[in-house]
C-alpha cells in the first residue's frame, strides 16, 4: 500500500521537473545564447552561467529519476518497496546535486552574473518580463530584470526542498513506529533539513560577499574578488584590531584572511594560518609562515567570535570541502591542526626570499619532510625542523657557468651542514667527510673525479672549510705524496714527501714552502742533511752521506751552467754507515704523534658516544648509503633521498648495543667484534673502513716506501688500541641504557692483552697488504741475501746439509732416509725433519702475529719430536744442538721474505711476551735468518771447505 504522502511526493516531483524544464528554456538558455563577451569579466560570467546550466541539468535528471522511482512504486506498491525510492536510497546523491547547484548559483550571484548578462540583452529581457513573472510568486512589478532572474533560479528550489522535508516528515509519522524503513525516512528527513540550513547559509554568505564587493574600493576588489570566495567575518560587524600590522579592516574569507591597510591588501592563505591556543583576555594570536599577529577585540565575546570563526575556517579549508550543513559543523571547540602539508613562497627579505617551500609545516614553520626551491635554481629536499634544514637533506646549487651543479648530500643541523656528508662540486671533485656549521670540518677526503682536468686527492683533517691538521695529499701529476701538517689550506709544519722516483724527504713547511734544514733520502740510499728546496735543489749548508760511507760537508748551490755547485770537505775515511741510519731510516717518527694523528676520525665517534648514541645522529656519524647521484642531477625537479634509511636496515643503534651486551665472553665477543668490524653500517665497522681508507691513502702506491714503515706500524697498533677503546665506549653506553653499572676501568696490562689478543688479529687483515709491503721493502736487501743462502743450501742433499750445519750425527733422522748401507752421501732431499719444515711453512698462511708464533712453537715441537724418535727416548735439546737443526729446517722451509715476516711479528707482538717463550722462539728464528745470510752459507761449495775459524 502506498501512503498519500508518496502520491504527494510524486506530484511534487512532476511539478518541479516541469519548472526546471521551463526555467531552462525560458531563462538559462537565453542567458547563455548572448554573444561571446569580449572582456574577461564577461567571459568569467559566461563560464559561471554555463556551470549553472550544467548543474541545472543534473538537477533535472535527478528529479526525473526520483519521479520515475515514485511512479514505479505507485504502480506496483507490492513489489516495489518503499526504500527503493531514490529520495531514500540515494539521498546523498540527491543532496550532492542540490549542493552543487547552490554552489554554482551563489557564485553567479556573488559576481552579479545575472544582472550583467541581463544588461547585455536588456531588450530581450524587457520583452520576457511577463514570462518571468509567471515563473515567480509574489514578485513586484518594480523589480529589475536582474533581481527577477536571481529569484527565478532559486525560489523553486528552496520551495521544493521545503516541501520535501514537510512530506517526508508526514511520511515518517504515517508509516508507524516499527516499519523497517522508518529509520531511513527519518534520516533522510534530517538530511534534507540540513540541506535547508546549508542553502540558507550559502545564500546568506553569498549575499554578504556580494554586498562586500560593492563597498570595497576598486583596487582591493580587483585583487580579492573571486567567484568562489565567500565572506565569513568582517571587522566592520565585530570590530577587531590587529597588531603589529595596524589594519583598518579585517576580512575573513573561506580561503584566506585579508588585512586591509590603506591601499595595501595583505592576504594570508588559511592553509598556513595557525590559531595559537594560548588564551589571553580579549586577544588571540595567529601564526603564519612569516608573520605573527595579535587580534584584539573590545570585549571577550568579540574575541570568541573571531577566534571561533578563524579556527572553523582554517579547519574547513584543511578538510578541502565545505562543512555540512553549516560552517564548523562536527568541529569540536578545538584548535587548528599543528601539522600540515602546504606550499608557500616566502616574501620577506632574507635567506628564504622568493623561495618556495612545499612540504610539511608545524605552527608556521617548515617542519618535517619538504622541498625548498629558490628562484636562482638552488634546491633543497630533506628534513626540516622549526623552519631550518635539520636531518638528512640534499641540496643542489647551480654553478654560475655551464649546466653543472654542486650537490650536497649531507646531514644538517639547524640550517647548516653538520656531520657526515658527500659534496660533489660540479663534475670535478667530490668531498666525502664531516661538516660543521656548513663547512668542511674534521676528517674528510677531497678527491677529483676521473674526468677532472687536474687530478688530486686530499685525505685528512679540515678546519672551517680549509685543510688544517694532519693530512695526506696526492699529486699524481708530479708523482708526489705529501704526508704532514696543514694550516689554512697550505702545507705548514712538519711534513714528509715521497715521490714516484723513490726520493723522499722530511722537512718543515711554511705557507707551502720548505723552510730550514731537512733530510733528503735518495733511492740509492744516499742521505742529505741540510737545506734544499721543494724541487730538490740543494741550497746552503748541508752534509751528504754516501752509501759507501763517504761524507761531503759544506755549502751547496746551483752551478752556473746547471748542475750542482759545492764547496766543502769530502771525508773518505769514515766507516760505512750503520745500515739502520740511512737505508732503514724512518721518516716522520715522533713528528706526527700517533695518538693524535687521526683524531678527526675518532672525534665524531666519541661525540656520538658521549651523547649516548642517539639514533637520530647515527646517520650523521656513519654516513649514508646513496645510490648513484647521476639520476639526482638529471632531475633536480624532484629530488628523492633514495638512501637506505638506518631504521630500515638491520643496524638500529639499540640492536647494536644490545648485541654488545649479549656477547661479552671472550669467544662470543670475538665473534661479535668480527661481525661488527666487517659491517660498514656498524660504528666500529665504519671506523675501521675509514682507517683503511687513510692507511691506503698514506702507504699504498707512492707511499709504499720503506722509510715510512715506522709510521705505518705504529699507526696500526694505535688503531687497534683505539678500536678497543671505541668498543669499550659503546659498551659503556649500552650498560648505561640498561641502567647497569659501567665496567671498571681496566688496567694497562689487561687492555694490552685485549688489544693484541682480540682486536689486532681482527683488524690486521684490513691493513696487512700495505703494511707487509713496507716490511718487504725495508728488509729487501737482507731478504735478498737470505734468498741466496736458501738457494745455495737447497742444492745440498739432506745428509750433506746436516753435516754442513754441524748437526751432531746421532741426531740425524736417518730412519727418514732410504739409504743403502754404503750410501752415506745420498741424493735424497727434503726428507729429514719434513714435519717441522711443513709446519714452519704455515707461518705465511696467517696474518695474526700470535698465530704465527704458535706455528713457530709447533715447529720446535716437531723438531724435538723427531729427535726424540731418532734417539728412542725423550730428549731435551740444548741450544748447541737446537740451533743447527733449526737452521736446517728454516733453510728447507724456503719461506720468502722471512725477514719481513720476523720483523712484522716482532713489532706487532704483544709486549707482554718480551723476554718470554715467544720472544725466545722468534729470536732463535731471527738468528737462523741472520746466519743464512752469512757469506759462507751463501757461497761455499763444499762442507769440507768449512772454515771453523769464523771471524767474530
Amino acid at each position: 500500500m502506498c501512503s498519500p504522502e508518496e502520491a504527494a511526493l510524486l506530484r511534487l516531483e512532476e511539478v518541479f521537473s516541469a519548472t526546471l524544464a521551463r526555467t531552462n528554456s525560458l531563462v538559462l538558455q537565453p542567458l547563455l545564447t548572448a554573444a561571446e563577451p569580449s572582456d574577461p569579466q564577461g567571459r568569467e560570467c559566461l563560464r559561471l552561467l554555463q556551470q549553472l546550466h550544467w548543474s541545472s541539468q543534473q538537477l533535472w535528471e535527478v528529479t526525473e529519476e526520483s519521479l520515475h522511482s515514485l511512479q514505479e512504486r505507485l504502480c506496483h506498491p507490492d513489489s516495489v518497496r518503499l526504500e527503493s525510492l531514490l529520495l531514500l536510497r540515494g539521498a546523498d546523491r540527491v543532496l550532492q546535486v542540490y549542493m552543487e547547484y547552490i554552489e554554482s548559483y551563489t557564485s553567479c550571484m556573488v559576481v552579479q552574473a545575472f544582472q550583467k548578462a541581463a544588461k547585455r540583452r536588456s531588450g530581450y529581457w524587457r520583452v520576457q518580463r511577463k514570462v518571468l513573472r509567471q515563473l515567480l510568486w509574489g514578485m513586484s512589478s518594480e523589480g529589475s530584470v536582474g533581481t527577477a532572474l536571481v529569484e527565478v533560479l532559486c525560489q523553486p528550489l528552496t520551495y521544493h526542498v521545503q516541501q520535501y522535508v514537510f512530506l517526508l516528515l508526514s511520511l515518517s509519522d504515517t508509516i508507524g513506529e516499527h516499519h523497517p524503513t522508518r529509520e531511513l525516512v527519518v534520516h533522510t528527513t534530517t538530511l534534507f533539513g540540513d540541506l535547508q540550513s546549508f542553502m540558507r547559509q550559502a545564500l546568506d554568505q553569498a549575499v554578504a560577499t556580494q554586498a562586500l564587493w560593492h563597498t570595497l574600493s576598486s583596487r582591493p576588489r580587483d585583487v580579492l574578488c573571486i567567484p568562489a570566495r565567500r565572506l565569513l567575518q568582517d571587522s566592520q560587524d565585530v570590530p577587531v584590531t590587529v597588531t603589529p600590522l595596524r589594519a583598518e579592516r579585517v576580512l575573513l574569507f573561506d580561503d584566506a584572511l585579508v588585512l586591509l591597510q590603506g591601499h595595501n591588501v595583505h592576504t594570508f592563505d588559511l592553509k598556513l594560518v595557525w590559531v595559537d591556543p594560548r588564551q589571553d583576555g580579549c586577544t588571540f594570536h595567529l601564526l603564519t609562515p612569516e608573520e605573527e599577529f595579535s587580534f584584539c577585540s573590545k570585549d571577550p565575546q568579540g574575541k570568541v567570535v573571531w577566534q571561533r570563526k578563524v579556527t572553523e575556517a582554517v579547519c574547513q579549508v584543511l578538510r578541502g570541502k565545505k562543512d555540512f550543513p553549516v560552517l564548523g559543523a562536527g568541529l569540536e571547540p578545538s584548535e587548528t591542526p599543528t601539522c600540515r602539508c602546504a606550499a608557500y613562497t616566502f616574501r620577506a627579505e632574507g635567506r628564504l626570499c622568493q623561495a618556495t617551500y612545499e612540504g610539511q609545516w608545524c605552527r608556521g614553520r617548515p617542519h618535517g619532510k619538504g622541498a625548498l626551491k629558490w628562484p636562482d635554481g638552488r634546491n633543497h629536499v630533506g628534513n626540516f625542523c622549526q623552519g631550518l634544514e635539520h636531518g638528512f637533506g640534499i641540496r643542489l646549487v647551480p654553478r654560475a657557468s655551464e649546466d653543472k651543479f654542486d650537490c650536497y648530500k649531507c646531514h644538517w643541523w639547524e640550517g647548516s651542514m653538520s656531520g657526515y656528508g658527500i659534496c660533489e662540486n660540479g663534475t670535478d671533485e667530490v668531498y666525502k667527510g664531516y661538516f660543521q656549521a656548513g663547512l668542511r670540518h674534521g676528517f674528510g677526503v677531497l678527491e677529483s673525479t676521473p674526468q677532472a682536468p687536474q687530478p688530486c686527492k686530499y685525505t685528512g683533517h679540515w678546519e672551517r672549510g680549509q685543510r688544517s691538521g694532519y693530512g695526506i695529499e696526492e699529486d699524481s701529476d708530479r708523482g708526489e705524496r705529501y704526508i704532514g701538517m696543514w694550516q689554512a689550506d697550505q702545507r705548514h709544519g712538519p711534513g714528509v714527501m715521497v715521490t714516484q722516483a723513490g726520493v723522499c724527504y722530511q722537512g718543515t713547511f711554511q705557507a707551502d714552502k720548505m723552510v730550514g734544514p731537512g733530510i733528503l733520502l735518495s733511492e740509492d740510499d744516499s742521505l742529505y742533511e741540510g737545506t734544499f728546496t721543494r724541487d730538490l735543489t740543494l741550497v746552503g749548508k748541508g752534509k751528504v752521506t754516501f752509501p759507501i760511507g763517504f761524507t761531503l760537508e759544506g755549502s751547496f748551490g746551483s752551478g752556473a751552467g746547471g748542475g750542482l755547485h759545492t764547496q766543502g770537505v769530502l771525508d773518505t775515511a769514515a766507516l760505512p754507515p750503520d745500515p739502520s741510519s740511512t737505508r732503514k731510516r724512518q721518516l716522520g717518527l715522533g713528528v706526527f704523534p700517533v695518538e693524535s694523528r687521526w683524531q678527526g676520525i675518532y672525534g665524531p665517534f666519541w661525540a656520538f658516544v658521549h651523547a649516548g648514541c642517539p639514533g637520530e645522529l647515527q646517520e650523521a656519524l656513519l654516513g649514508f648509503h646513496v645510490q648513484s647521484s647521476r639520476a639526482l642531477r638529471k632531475s633536480q625537479e624532484y629530488l628523492c633521498c633514495e638512501r637506505t634509511h638506518p631504521e630500515d636496515s638491520a643496524c638500529r643503534m639499540e640492536d647494536i648495543l644490545e648485541e654488545l651486551l649479549q656477547h661479552r665472553e671472550r669467544e662470543a665477543l670475538q665473534q661479535c667484534l668480527r661481525k661488527a668490524l666487517s659491517n660498514p653500517l656498524h660504528p666500529l665497522g665504519k671506523l675501521l673502513r675509514t682507517l683503511m681508507l687513510t692507511f691506503q691513502a698514506t702507504y699504498a702506491g707512492v707511499g709504499a716506501n720503506k722509510h715510512l714503515q715506522g709510521l705505518a706500524q705504529e699507526e696500526v697498533k694505535q688503531h687497534a688500541r683505539e678500536l678497543w677503546a671505541a668498543y669499550r665506549g659503546l659498551l659503556r653506553v649500552a650498560l648505561q641504557r640498561k641502567g647497569q653499572a659501567p665496567e671498571e676501568d681496566e688496567d694497562a696490562e689487561t687492555r694490552d692483552l685485549q688489544v693484541h689478543g682480540l682486536v689486532l688479529p681482527l683488524m690486521l687483515p684490513s691493513f696487512y697488504s700495505e703494511l707487509f709491503t713496507l716490511y718487504l721493502l725495508l728488509h729487501e736487501r737482507e731478504d735478498g741475501l737470505y734468498s741466496q743462502g736458501i738457494a745455495h743450501l737447497s742444492l745440498f742433499p739432506d745428509t750433506k746439509l746436516l753435516e754442513f750445519l754441524d748437526v751432531q750425527k746421532h741426531l740425524w733422522p736417518l730412519k727418514d732416509l732410504k739409504l743403502t748401507t754404503n750410501q752415506r752421501c745420498s741424493l735424497v732431499r727434503d726428507n729429514c725433519f719434513l714435519s717441522a719444515t711443513e709446519c714452519l711453512q704455515r707461518i705465511i698462511t696467517t696474518v695474526d702475529p700470535r698465530e704465527k708464533l704458535e706455528v713457530l712453537e709447533r715447529t720446535y715441537g716437531e723438531i724435538e719430536a723427531t729427535v726424540s724418535r731418532v734417539l728412542g727416548q725423550e730428549h731435551k735439546l740444548p741450544m748447541d744442538d737446537l740451533l743447527p737443526l733449526l737452521i736446517y729446517v728454516v733453510s728447507r722451509a724456503r719461506i720468502q721474505h722471512l725477514g719481513a715476516e720476523i720483523h712484522l711479528i716482532r713489532d706487532l707482538m704483544d709486549p707482554i711476551h718480551t723476554g718470554g717463550l715467544y720472544d725466545f722462539l722468534l729470536t732463535a728464528l731471527e738468528s737462523c735468518y741472520e746466519h743464512i745470510q752469512k757469506e759462507d752459507m751463501r757461497l761455499h761449495r763444499l762442507p769440507s771447505r768449512w772454515n771453523s775459524r769464523a771471524p767474530w
Binding site: 740444548p878 737446537l882 718480551t914 722462539l921 732463535a924 746466519h931
Partner: protein, 195 residues
C-alpha cells in the same frame, strides 16, 4: 700477593761446558709451581723467592759453537743477568769466558749482572783453571763467581741466589700498579742490532 719480577737471564759459554746441564739441574731439582712452557733445554723458566719479591727467571740458552758467536747479541739484549759458564778442566773455555765478558761490557745491556760459573768442579783432579784465577778475574770485573757441578748439584742454587741478590730492588714508586711487575727491557726498545 708478592710481586713477580720477570728476569731474563742468558747463558753463555763454550759448547760442552754444561750450560744447559746447570739450568736443567736448577729447574728440575725443585718443584716449580708455575707450569712453564719450555723449549727443550733451550728456554726454561723458574720462579724463586727473594726477599719480598718473586723472581721469575726466563733462562735463554745460546749455542756455544764459535760460528754462532755473532748471533749472541740477539739473545743477550734485554737480559738482566748473564751466566757465563766455563769448564774448570778446560783452560780454553776460560779464555772464551773472558771474551764474552769483554763483549758484554762493550755491547751488552747496561747494569747487566754477570755470574761466572766454573762447572764440573766434581772433576777437580783434572782441573786446568785454578779457583784463585777465576776469583781474581771475577773481582776485577765485579762479577759473581762460583764453582758448580751440575752433575752433583753443587752450588747451582747458590749461583742463582747470588744473581737474585745482585738484582737491584724495584723503585718503590715504579710499582704503583697491581700484580705482576715487569722489569725487563730496560735497554730493549729500538736497539735491535742489524748485522
Amino acid at each position: 700477593m708478592m710481586a713477580i719480577r720477570e728476569l731474563k737471564v742468558c747463558l753463555l759459554g763454550d759448547t760442552g761446558v754444561g750450560k744447559s746441564s746447570i739450568v736443567c739441574r736448577f729447574v728440575q731439582d725443585h718443584f716449580d709451581h708455575n707450569i712453564s712452557p719450555t723449549i727443550g733445554a733451550s728456554f726454561m723458566t723458574k720462579t724463586v723467592a727473594c726477599g719480598n719479591e718473586l723472581h721469575k727467571f726466563l733462562i735463554w740458552d745460546t749455542a756455544g759453537q764459535e760460528r754462532f758467536h755473532s748471533l749472541a747479541p740477539m739473545y743477550y739484549r734485554g737480559s738482566a743477568a748473564a751466566v757465563i759458564v766455563y769448564d774448570i778442566t778446560k783452560q780454553d773455555s776460560f779464555y772464551t769466558l773472558k771474551k764474552w765478558v769483554k763483549e758484554l761490557k762493550e755491547h751488552g745491556p747496561e747494569n747487566i749482572v754477570m755470574a761466572i760459573a766454573g762447572n764440573k768442579c766434581d772433576l777437580s783432579d783434572i782441573r786446568e783453571v785454578p779457583l784463585k784465577d777465576a776469583k781474581e778475574y771475577a773481582e776485577s770485573i765485579g762479577a759473581i763467581v762460583v764453582e758448580t757441578s751440575a752433575k752433583n748439584a753443587i752450588n747451582i742454587e747458590e749461583l742463582f741466589q747470588g744473581i737474585s741478590r745482585q738484582i737491584p730492588p724495584l723503585d718503590p714508586h715504579e710499582n704503583g700498579n697491581n700484580g705482576g711487575i715487569k722489569v725487563l727491557n730496560s735497554s730493549m726498545p729500538g736497539t735491535r742490532p742489524c748485522c
